[in-house]
């Protein structure tokens, strides 16, 4: 059996949700660039009227534009990688890269909840899996964890190799385990041979994912 669980409305909705979030972020990038460029234009108009130009102010506005171009470039690069996750039903995937991409795509949601989202200790692990479904599974588990957390918390996600697959750990330092179960994404978890366990002693939730069975 090949894992292709996202040929469904849920998969399309996930793609739409991420695309909407990314496009919103790009709008903000353009908005900042627009105001910084407008500020530079204002400085030059004032110079035409005899006011001296302050080089520091020009430099600050130019730096802002350059910073936003870098920010926009990273956003587009992540969106491009996400779009290409649909290229193949199953392939061998670098899970550190997959986790970093999912964290990047989910950071805006965490920001809106004022929760810091970060990758923790990650072993180099590769897994034969459906790239799009894995991104969706990781995103869903992170969102479920965020829903149980408070503003000011930090969610740390780690990665290690386990027999036949990989284990993603979710923890919030100083807090209870953030992900209690897979209730909000159980059909996808079941389809991907994934399961959630909770270790209350260490305050760690574990999302274990097994390799896809069958061939491409």
């Amino acid at each position: 059996m090949t894992q292709t669980t996202s040929n469904s409305r849920e998969g399309l909705q996930f793609f739409g949700r991420i695309s909407a979030s990314v496009s919103h972020e790009i709008k903000n990038v353009f908005a900042v660039i627009n105001e910084s460029a407008g500020l530079i234009e204002d400085f030059t108009l004032m110079a035409d009227r005899g006011m001296p130009i302050q080089p520091d102010r020009l430099k600050s506005a130019a730096n802002s534009i350059q910073g936003q171009v870098r920010r926009g470039d990273t956003i587009i690069k992540n969106m491009n990688a996400f779009a290409h996750s649909t290229d193949e039903a199953v392939r061998e995937l670098d899970l550190v890269e997959a986790l970093d991409l999912t964290v990047a795509l989910t950071t805006r949601i965490a920001d809106m909840k004022q929760i810091r989202l970060t990758s923790g200790d990650c072993q180099a692990v590769s897994l034969v899996t459906n790239p799009f479904d894995l991104t969706r599974l990781l995103h869903s588990s992170i969102v479920a964890a965020l829903d149980c957390m408070q503003a000011g918390d930090t969610l740390v996600i780690g990665l290690k190799s386990v027999s036949g697959g990989a284990s993603f750990s979710l923890s919030a330092p100083g807090k209870d385990a953030p992900l209690k179960n897979d209730e909000s994404f159980s059909p996808l978890a079941q389809a991907m041979n994934a399961s959630v366990t909770v270790d209350e002693d260490t305050g760690t939730s574990e999302l274990r994912v097994l390799a896809a069975t069958g061939s491409k």
């Binding site: 903000n28 908005a31 627009n34 105001e35 500020l39 920001d111």
Partner: protein, 116 residues
């Protein structure tokens, strides 16, 4: 006339405030709703320009809080296209909004319009 700008993009809102000042509009700014409430308790703002999507307090939530404490305050919303649906769902008819990125002259025209 004093104007309050609230947007979690600091570089955006600070540049907007400066550009408004160049055009004779007295504008204060902050990047969060809680600070906006505190500023409005100390200063009489005629118009508040609010980003729709902000952490913790959304633009609509902030408008409700501000308008209950300052009934005469007028509001303009800044929206990315992704939040238009939220805006239309949550905002009563007659709300003023501009879609990012904005033109500063459009914002000034809208400020003057709502301030009457």
């Amino acid at each position: 006339m004093k104007v309050l700008l609230v947007d979690d993009e600091v570089e955006l809102v600070s540049a907007m405030a400066e550009r408004l000042e160049f055009r004779g509009v007295d504008a204060d700014w902050t990047d969060n709703g809680e600070a906006a409430l505190e500023m409005a308790s100390r200063t009489d703002y005629a118009v508040a320009v609010l980003d729709m999507k902000m952490p913790r307090l959304s633009g609509l939530d902030l408008m409700e809080r501000l308008s209950s404490q300052h009934p005469d305050m007028k509001f303009i919303f800044l929206s990315g296209h992704g939040s238009e649906a939220d805006f239309k769902a949550g905002c009563a008819a007659g709300c003023n909004y501009l879609i990012k990125p904005i033109q500063i002259d459009d914002l000034i025209a809208r400020i003057n319009q709502v301030a009457g």
